[in-house]
């Protein structure tokens, strides 16, 4: 182990491992969005804002009302799942047959709405849970437990969704609808119900992501803008609706940000990631794992 560490720069290794941990969280973020896109064929531009509301939810449940953590987390997940349900019911459903770009813009309206709702309701102060998780030290490297926990929970969430999609009847129906949304209604499938279930699952994943993010970062009404765009880029890079592609893209992006941040400022990590995205769009417009037609 010591010899291994000597070959590699310790900081480089730390950045790579941090990148992998970050990748887990990004992959979870991308999963919910991909699910919505793959099944309903709609992009929730306001996805990161749902997460922001979830972060406030956990903050209020845990830090303000003193709900114990083991109860606050499920409550938060349910809260955002309900929001996802409402979003579909109130905004997406009337627009299902509209031009895709109108759906995009309407969820853009939801983004504005949630952001300013948070500003009005919670104020613009930065808030945090006030828990400091210890730092894990391996050799000269330091990782926060919060990140490790987030990584593990993200992987757990993804496995749960995978099992749901492949092992249950509803999951199978959802996958079928993603393959052909016009035939399924003819087969007697209630698409409306499946869309609502999918929206709730997408929201629930956002809620889980919110619980993990609020452990590491302060929450404020505009926090969504700091990770929202990156989530979209990951989904597009992986191919919208392509779960495995999104997974790979999340880890790629996380490495670029992490390593870019190691050699320079964090912003340059993001600039690199965005530039990489644009170049990749030209090389593989249908996503990383798509076969070229």
């Amino acid at each position: 182990m010591e010899a291994f560490l000597e070959i590699f720069d310790v900081f480089l290794l730390e950045a790579i491992i941090s990148g992998i941990l970050l990748g887990g969280v990004l992959a979870l973020l991308a999963l919910g969005l991909n699910l919505i896109f793959g099944v309903i064929d709609v992009t929730w531009i306001c996805y990161a804002e749902l997460i922001m509301i979830g972060m406030y939810g956990l903050y209020y449940f845990y830090a303000v009302y003193g709900v114990p953590m083991w109860m606050a987390v499920p409550m938060c997940i349910v809260l955002v799942a309900i929001l996802g349900l409402l979003l579909h019911y109130l905004v997406i459903e009337p627009l299902l047959d509209a031009a895709p770009i109108n759906q995009l813009l309407a969820t853009g309206g939801v983004l504005f709405f949630l952001q300013s709702f948070a500003t009005v309701a919670f104020g613009i102060d930065f808030r945090n849970l006030g828990i400091r998780l210890p730092v894990l030290a391996i050799g000269d490297m330091h990782f926060s437990y919060a990140r490790l926990l987030a990584f593990l929970a993200a992987i757990g969430g993804m496995v749960a969704v995978y099992l749901f999609m492949t092992r249950t009847y509803t999951g199978t129906a959802i996958r079928a609808i993603a393959q052909d949304r016009h035939i399924m209604p003819l087969m007697g499938v209630d698409t409306r119900r499946l869309y609502l279930i999918t929206s709730a699952i997408g929201g629930g994943l956002a809620g889980l992501a919110a619980c993990l993010l609020v452990l590491q970062y302060d929450v404020h009404p505009f926090v969504g803008l700091s990770f929202g765009p990156i989530t979209f880029l990951i989904c597009v890079l992986g191919g919208l609706g392509n779960f495995i592609g999104g997974f790979v893209a999340a880890f790629l992006f996380a490495q670029i940000i992490s390593l870019g941040g190691l050699y320079s400022d964090l912003e340059w990590g993001y600039v690199l990631a965005f530039a990489f995205f644009i170049v990749m769009m030209f090389v593989r417009p249908q996503g990383l794992l798509a076969r070229r037609s």
């Binding site: 770009i101 952001q115 300013s116 030209f282």
Partner: protein
């Protein structure tokens, strides 16, 4: 929008005469803001109305504003030269991003998201080069010690009102010219069906590029004018995804398919923000966007052609409604 219509010229004359008669500085300030943003929203709609939904216009605006200000502060280059340089920079950026997009037929959602990355990049670059640009704290062009004209810095609102009016009118004139050109026919055909348009002999990539670069140039000009007027810019007010969305939002509310639609959108959004700000002070923080968000959703669901667009349609064919 027929230039031979006498009513149009009357309205134009009234708008030009306004600052000579009415000099309330705050009202003039609001009007200047409305005119500058109307121009920016019109620029966005130039391509938005052909189904090219760009979320990268915040990036073009940021390039316009920051290039002009940086050239002035660091090299003493007058905005008269700085603005053309900024336009070239924004145009080049548009070419670099849009050409491959159109060449590889990235459309719809994907185009919106690629351009979203572009606004993200511009915002992050401005923030990252904080030694030169002041980062997220914002940036102020230095006050000139010499000629106000050479530095394009005027203290009085009347001058700015006339400049903004001129730029806004130029924007509408460009809209009118595009509306009457072959470019419009080509782009309408493309927005209906790209393959059919290509089969009919339209060079899809070239036509889309023309309108995109034009739109980017106008947006960069709006950014530069905004910077010269406000004498303060920050990454959040002239670049980034929030600004891009703001443009889309205002344009959609006003109506993106009619020339005055984006202007109506700007009037509504800016007046709303100002009224809320004055009426409720700091308590109103967030309320304007809350109302915007709800309006945007309601509009897209019930009035996808925007306020002005739906109104004009209703006037033209009342029987259909």
């Amino acid at each position: 929008m027929n230039p031979r219509n006498p009513a149009l010229w009357l309205v134009a004359a009234a708008l030009v005469a306004l600052p000579f008669v009415y000099r309330q500085p705050y009202h003039l300030h609001v009007m200047v803001l409305i005119l500058i943003w109307s121009f920016a929203y019109t620029s966005w709609s130039m391509m938005g109305r052909f189904g090219l939904v760009s979320l990268g216009h915040g990036g073009f605006m940021g390039v316009g504003a920051y290039t002009t200000a940086l050239l002035w502060n660091h090299f003493g280059v007058s905005p008269w030269i700085g603005i053309p340089v900024a336009l070239v920079a924004a145009g080049a950026l548009a070419l670099i991003v849009a050409w491959p997009c159109f060449r590889f037929r990235i459309t719809g959602h994907y185009f919106a998201l690629v351009t979203l990355a572009l606004s993200g990049i511009v915002l992050q670059v401005i923030t990252a080069t904080r030694d030169q640009t002041g980062g997220s704290l914002g940036y102020t062009p230095e006050r000139t010690k010499g000629s106000a004209l050479a530095a394009l810095q005027f203290v009085d609102k009347e001058t700015w009102y006339l400049i903004a009016l001129g730029v806004w009118a130029a924007g509408l004139a460009i809209w009118y010219l595009v509306d009457r050109s072959m470019l419009r026919d080509a782009l309408e055909a493309i927005s209906e069906d790209e393959d059919a348009a290509a089969a009919a002999g339209i060079n899809v990539t070239a036509e889309k590029l023309k309108i995109t670069v034009l739109s980017a140039l106008m947006t960069a000009l709006a950014g530069a004018i905004y910077c010269q007027y406000q004498m303060f810019i920050s990454p959040d007010t002239v670049s980034g995804i929030a600004v891009s969305l703001q443009m889309v939002f205002a344009a959609v509310v006003g109506g993106i398919y009619v020339a005055f639609g984006p202007t109506v959108g700007a009037i509504i959004t800016i007046l709303l923000a100002e009224i809320l700000r004055i009426g409720f002070g700091t308590k109103a923080v967030g309320w304007d966007n809350l109302v915007y968000g709800v309006l945007l959703i309601v509009f897209i669901i019930f009035l996808p052609k925007g306020i002005l667009g739906s109104l004009l349609e209703r006037l033209k064919s009342p029987s259909k409604h």
